[in-house]
């Protein structure tokens, strides 16, 4: 991640703030070696890490909304969280004076024409057509996210239960295939 920041934004990470979790303790030596200031909160004081705690609340709120809109099972939590993060980065924020985090980082406005309805039914073009001329030409799937670094979308195939990336897709936008299945499990 640090080399990504350095190469993409020509910036060096200077401070890292987190809580007292042991999960970050193993990286202490790395921070020390690279001159990064590692700030941890006092025990029992999550307020000192409030920024990220509030963001978790925000992410979870959006992710829950995505899940219930698509009537998805809890197994899709990863896709919900990642999509929530993607959407939040493109949502204007009052703390940034109405700008989006995307704009603050890249200096230009994000495009919104790539957004799709999470969990909605779509038909992805079947590549290869192994089954011959009379076989189905499409796969019934639902939209589950935006892959990083690819011009396409993530889909979940309802029939074969696999997640794949495609760009040759028709979106129905209003049908949610999992609507009839209860989401409590």
């Amino acid at each position: 991640m640090f080399s990504l920041v350095e190469r993409q934004f020509n910036k060096q990470v200077k401070n890292i703030r987190t809580d007292n979790g042991t999960k970050f303790a193993c990286m202490k030596n790395y921070f020390l070696k690279n001159g990064i200031i590692f700030q941890t909160s006092c025990t029992g004081t999550p307020q000192q890490n409030g920024n990220v705690k509030h963001k978790h609340q925000y992410i979870l709120n959006v992710a829950r909304a995505l899940r219930f809109q698509g009537c998805l099972l809890i197994d899709f939590w990863r896709e919900c969280i990642l999509t929530a993060g993607y959407l939040i980065n493109k949502t204007p924020s009052s703390i940034l004076n109405g700008k989006t985090p995307f704009r603050m980082l890249y200096g230009c406005d994000p495009t919104y024409d790539l957004l799709q309805v999470f969990g909605s039914l779509c038909y992805a073009h079947k590549q290869g057509r192994l089954g011959g001329k009379f076989d189905s030409r499409s796969r019934r799937c639902i939209f589950v996210g935006y892959p990083y670094g690819k011009k396409g979308y993530h889909f979940y195939d309802i029939e074969t239960n696999e997640i794949f990336i495609s760009r040759d897709v028709k979106f129905s936008k209003i049908d949610f295939p999992f609507e009839s299945i209860p989401t409590d499990t």
Binding site: K11, Q12, I16, W77, G85, M104
Partner: protein, 75 residues
Amino acid sequence: MQATKIVSGVDLKKGTKNLNKCCDVCQRAKQTENKFPISDFRASDAYELIHCDLWGPINEASYFLTIIDDYSRVV
């Protein structure tokens, strides 16, 4: 209280040297957490300060790591 004559019959002069001392009984009985001020620090440039935290567990042992840049608030 004595000066404004709300209470009478208490001679404060007797114990004045102990008035501002940290009292063991008071601390044990009444100590609270310190006030937590809202931070007004904002990073002035991208990636000057980043916040990290792990969220979970979900489905027994799965977590996700959130990394936020303080300047742009990008997740």
